[in-house]
């Protein structure tokens, strides 16, 4: 009887597999934003963050950019001192968009008390990428390969999506290397409102945390669904919420929030944020 489980390769393989599966499973449990909501950097638990942060902003189409301007208008550049924009290679106007958002952050800061909400663009006043302004911080733009070209056949899409994923991991690692707020520290927060690239960037950040290359508390994901979505989520939103990849998922309509939260709290509603 005792020799029934003798040294054949099979039990060993099964055991190894079990160990690996358990490890991966526990690791996923540990790193999943969905399950670790409210999880903080343990070293900061009772000590609020006092240093500046690094924010990643994913750029999308013109509509996404327009909403992102509204979202980031009130962000304090003294807190979010370094801002890295990620855009896909198909976007010819990425730099203009990034500058547009930057100029709005800067102006909103300049006229914090003035009620003037003029939208005149002053793109020239925005310094170049990588130039550190002691008040408004520093910004840069990273380009990743696009996940799917227009009219690309469906069977080659996984391949290009993987290339995009690799590009995103590379971009985040580069952002880490170039961090000026923390020596070789990964970005603190990823702000996105749902272009396709955002899903891949979020996935890349998750892979970095899962594999242990980045600390679990880095790159917290804030996903704000587009304000055009009144009754249902966009595809990106469905993926991000479905996989639980975001730390905070915000919708801009109360009705939608109620609909999505009918069983348990999954999304937050704070009002219309993009105006």
């Amino acid at each position: 009887m005792t020799f029934a489980f003798s040294y054949t390769k099979l039990p060993l393989l099964v055991a190894a597999l079990l160990v690996i599966c358990t490890t991966v499973f526990l690791r996923i449990l540990y790193t999943m934003p969905l399950l670790s909501r409210g999880y903080r950097n343990p070293t900061l638990k009772n000590h609020p963050k006092t240093t500046a942060s690094h924010m990643v902003v994913v750029l999308g189409s013109g509509g996404h950019t327009r909403e992102m301007i509204g979202l980031l208008r009130r962000i304090d550049p003294a807190h979010y001192f370094q801002r890295t924009y990620i855009a896909s290679s198909g976007d010819a106007h990425a730099e203009v968009k990034a500058r547009e958002i930057e100029s709005n952050i800067r102006r909103a800061q300049g006229e914090k008390d003035a009620d003037g909400m003029t939208d005149e663009l002053d793109l020239k006043s925005v310094p170049c990428q990588g130039i550190v302004d002691p008040v408004n911080g520093v910004w840069d733009l990273k380009i990743v390969p696009r996940a799917r070209a227009i009219q690309q056949p469906i069977y080659t899409t996984p391949l290009s999506a993987l290339r995009c994923l690799r590009g995103c991991i590379g971009a985040l690692r580069a952002a880490c290397r170039q961090s000026i707020v923390a020596h070789h520290g990964y970005p603190d927060v990823i702000m996105t409102n749902g272009p396709a690239t955002a899903v891949v960037v979020i996935l890349a950040s998750y892979i970095l945390r899962l594999s242990g290359m980045a600390p679990t508390w880095s790159m917290r994901v804030i996903y704000v669904e587009s304000f055009a979505r009144v009754e249902g989520l966009s595809l990106s939103g469905k993926i991000v919420l479905g996989l639980g990849l975001s730390n905070v998922f915000i919708v801009q309509w109360e009705k939608l929030a109620v609909k999505l939260n009918n069983k348990r709290k999954r999304v937050e509603y704070l009002g219309i944020l993009v105006l």
Partner: protein, 210 residues
């Protein structure tokens, strides 16, 4: 009411008032152009001090010119049209109050981009959802925005009523929703700070009070 007060000193120099009609960039919306060009609506605009109506017609330029040729009178309004401008906000700003000009309004398809632009520029907005679009978020968005008092929703037939309604309430509306939006954005900024780990004093105070 506010509008009538602003109108009264117009007896001296000519006071301009401009209305922008925009069909949006993505889909053609000839019904809106047709509705805006109806004599009843133009007459209402003229009676309420409007001097100019600008049309952003997109791909429907031919349709606009055809309609324009059939018209017998413009009710004394100056009408002009263009296909696209890269930044519609400039055209919207052109309708705001300024030197020798009273704040006008914008009539638009209910695209989210146009709504954002108009609200940011503080131009009173009437949205007319484009019913011919199949994947129709426009209708839902327009309903909600109307319900919360940001815009006035209309149909192509009910434009005259919507114009009246928009001008009756537009005076206080902007101030009211500006305040609301500032609160929303403050809440959002606090939430972001909270996620990253900054302690926002006011956030804590509120939490303790509540």
């Amino acid at each position: 009411m506010e509008d009538h007060k602003q109108e009264s000193p117009s007896s001296g120099p000519v006071v301009n008032r401009k209305c922008l009609v925009t069909t949006g960039a993505t889909a053609p919306f000839p019904e809106l152009i047709c509705a805006a060009l109806q004599s009843g609506n133009l007459r209402w605009l003229a009676e309420n001090g409007y001097t100019h109506v600008n049309f952003q017609v997109g791909t429907s330029m031919q349709y606009y010119t055809d309609l324009r040729e059939q018209m017998t009178t413009t009710e004394g309004l100056k009408l002009c049209a263009f296909a696209f401008h890269p930044d519609l906000k400039d055209d919207m700003r052109d309708c705001l109050d300024g030197e020798g000009q009273v704040r006008g309004c914008c009539i638009s398809a209910a695209g989210s981009g146009t709504i954002l632009d108009a609200l940011r520029v503080d131009l009173p907005l009437i949205v007319v959802p484009n019913l011919s679009l199949l994947d129709n978020h426009q209708q839902e968005l327009a309903n909600e925005m109307h319900r919360q008092g940001y815009v006035t929703k209309s149909t192509t037939n009910g434009l005259a009523k919507a114009l009246r309604r928009c001008h009756e309430i537009s005076a206080n509306r902007t101030i009211e929703y500006r305040k609301r939006i500032a609160e929303y954005q403050a809440a959002f900024t606090k939430r972001v700070n909270n996620v990253v780990g900054y302690i926002d004093d006011s956030y804590d105070v509120n939490a303790r009070e509540g």
